[in-house]
Subunit: 190 residues, 2 copies
Amino acid sequence: MKILEDMIKEKGQVINEDILKVDSFLNHQVDPVLMKNIGLEFAKHFKEKNITKVFTIESSGIAPALLTAQELKVPLVVLKKQTSNILDRNYYQTEVRSFTKNCSYMLTLSQKYLKESDNILIIDDFLANGEAASGVIKLIKSANASIAGVGIVIEKSFQPGRTKLDKLGYDIYSLARIKSLTNNRIEFLK
Amino acid sequence: MKILEDMIKEKGQVINEDILKVDSFLNHQVDPVLMKNIGLEFAKHFKEKNITKVFTIESSGIAPALLTAQELKVPLVVLKKQTSNILDRNYYQTEVRSFTKNCSYMLTLSQKYLKESDNILIIDDFLANGEAASGVIKLIKSANASIAGVGIVIEKSFQPGRTKLDKLGYDIYSLARIKSLTNNRIEFLK
């Protein structure tokens, strides 16, 4: 997606060869026009898949996921990051490790918002090690629901997440694929 | 806002006389059509105020705030809840106490996204004790920027937040004002 790649080139900050900071338009400050275009692009790609709900994880996935759900005319479900187990049988939970933040959390979803008949599109802002997306997939599978695909705003293709999800056979659609961040330079996969 | 009050009446769950659960359309599952209408309503109310940015707090405020920012054609800034102090002079921080969750967090904002010339509209999902909104106001004031007003999706008018913010003299616009939750009944202020 050219306007996204252009914005990453113009405003992204390479912190080190693993970390790209995009908090001027995606994470901390959010550009609503870019989000609208991202929503349109995901909806165009996944529109024939009979999606019933869009799932994302709080909080940076919410903006792109909301505008995708709006275009697809389906509800959005925001999976919560809890610090502890909820001892309540009405919730699905799975542990997710964040390499970037060097911590873990319990990805949490009320069973009310996922039925066996659901066909879920997962949207997230970043794909790096694939831990978050794998956690969401695990929760959806534990409800015997279907996964229509995964939409990622920025994929760090040099980290193992993409390969891991490809192996599971899902339709993974990343709007910007970063090949490397070495030498303080952002290089895209073409 | 009638469609919001109707949805609260139909889908809201009174947990006790202080807590209303609206996680089927606002917090956990999010209704994009309702969010669109909320964005339109806030934009209509505040459109003459020369707003330069919309501020909200992660994560339940993001959906209504994003669609308000989209209508007003300004950026959204999502204030972060950090668990600890960032010892970095490029950030504004203030401690906020959450009565509902009985914990506190450091409300955090990069100085890059707030200038003295800014005129900020604050949007949040709930107004209860006013701790979160007061924290945002404190950060904005510490940058000598202006506050155009506060937009709240659901105000619990029987708790002290509204009175506290009214005393500061801001334009507070709440889309649904709840007078009481006693006897398992949702009563609105008219």
